[in-house]
Symmetry: C2
Subunit: 356 residues, 2 copies
Amino acid sequence: MTYNFGAGPCILPNEVFKQASQAVLEFNPTGLSILEISHRTPEFESVVDETVRLVKELLNVPAGYSVLFLQGGASLQFAMVPMNLLGDNQTASYLDTGVWANKAIKEAKIIGNVNVVASSKSENYTFIPKDFQIPEDSAYFHYTSNNTIYGTELMETPKTNVPLVCDMSSDIFSRTINVADFDLIYAGAQKNMGPAGVTLVIVKDEILGKIDRKLPSMLDYKIHIDGGSMYNTPPVFSIYVSMLNLRWLKSKGGVSEIEKENISKAEALYREIDRNPLFKGTCRTEDRSRMNVCFVMENPELEKPFLKFTEERNIVGLKGHRSVGGFRASLYNALPITSVHVLIDAMQDFAEKHKK
Amino acid sequence: MTYNFGAGPCILPNEVFKQASQAVLEFNPTGLSILEISHRTPEFESVVDETVRLVKELLNVPAGYSVLFLQGGASLQFAMVPMNLLGDNQTASYLDTGVWANKAIKEAKIIGNVNVVASSKSENYTFIPKDFQIPEDSAYFHYTSNNTIYGTELMETPKTNVPLVCDMSSDIFSRTINVADFDLIYAGAQKNMGPAGVTLVIVKDEILGKIDRKLPSMLDYKIHIDGGSMYNTPPVFSIYVSMLNLRWLKSKGGVSEIEKENISKAEALYREIDRNPLFKGTCRTEDRSRMNVCFVMENPELEKPFLKFTEERNIVGLKGHRSVGGFRASLYNALPITSVHVLIDAMQDFAEKHKK
């Protein structure tokens, strides 16, 4: 038994691994491997259809939105969003809350005018800026809902009249959201949706087609909508495993049920961090992420020994990102609360061992 | 036993399916599924390194070339090639030999000036144009080496002094090529390299960085080279299965050995098409593809009954593309010659049944 706290690509449910493994041998009823079937077969078309339906059902996507499965990760979306939504004489507003938000800003600046409404960069992104103004004439407002590296999360959707665009790569399907508040949501799959290699885009149809820019077909949302996510050969296996994983989520009771578990997991771990004299959190309490719990040790010299101590207990993926240091425990949907207890036990046992 | 003649995503070796299936359960030595490991782990970094080494070894890639694993398929390359290589005051030359060549032309025209040196479109792409001139001042010359839909293939590399760019999606690794003749080669994986979801690019380093255009990071070859194909999260599983498949190819004796088998398979099937009075090929004999054998029936009314006849023998994926009709037997590397014999037997038995 391994306890996988990795930040992504990350843990998925065991039964999903079993079903996916079986489909690589035989994808019924084709008699073929899921890796050797044409994406134009009725069997795979029904996989795409079911995955779209599951996304719509689990997130309660209203009418007028399209659900797309693309390639290139959130990083390609950093460019596609301004290419499709930012006109030459317009300005897009961005909130800078971490490395990924910053990359989104950098890519948007290649395409057009960008206004950064606020940034917590100077304090190493340890909090989410709150008092910012979004100019009413912004082409759109873009933010990152969860900051994987720094362990902060925007629980409240910013209020604005301009079109709202959100990178939800690391917290989509982890908590209820009101899709109607957004005009475009994108997410690399490899946290709570599925394996690496596919990117979810949920876009309000009416915001498209308003920009004059001539786009390559693969970078044009409208063309992917017209092609039903199959303008060209899609990442067949990644979509298939996403379907399996979303089926699992549905069987667990859906997003609102998993959200309760995610709250319990995060609360238990933060409680231990705040209680245990050896550890401390790295960001402001009110902005703490439920998905990525970042913490360090009061005595940095104990960090290596603690990491070794956890590894001996088969806890993996706990090392913090180099820009924060310390530890990062990622508590994605598929991580059972028992794994959190194993980690808390390790923290307590280690503290016991180092008691003076 | 199923005989999979599908055009792609297509058959891969059975042992690759077995190994891939196992790695979805447990990717050793991590103890984790290949679907839940970080791409920054040493274990996955060695997968990428080995896959690059296998590509270089199997294709005898000279020094000065970079090997990349990207996302978005050949369709994204249709745009990336001109974005990276076609300057504002330049013209790129293209050869139009089929649907995919045509799409490449269409996308290049969105970026810059395009000169189509020759086209066989007016004769439904049944042959490869031979007598064409490539202007010496072309930014590059682009062609498609194998035309999956029409069943034609350019066996001889065009001679030119301008940079040579080739879409080898459907025949790479099927026959020996001289990579040094090319400046950029790209190929969607889902024929002879691996499953859908990853795209191979082999690029001569010195042709990059000569264009002024400001590119989004994900569309800039140089950034992917600097990132070692891991500028962002790569399609982990598709790369892993590609590695397994290239290992298999190496164990078979490499490209020159598989080429002999591919010649035998294609010769046997074309011989039957030419011999059997019920069938006929759809394109000029000298341009016939080894990968995709397209044929129709002298009496079109027999086509449906013949398709049914083959399906009863577990032959799948034989239906021709709608723009050609009839049948298409794809003979990719992993298709054993025994499958070709099963098809030939079916053709002969069907002819026997319909003898007057």
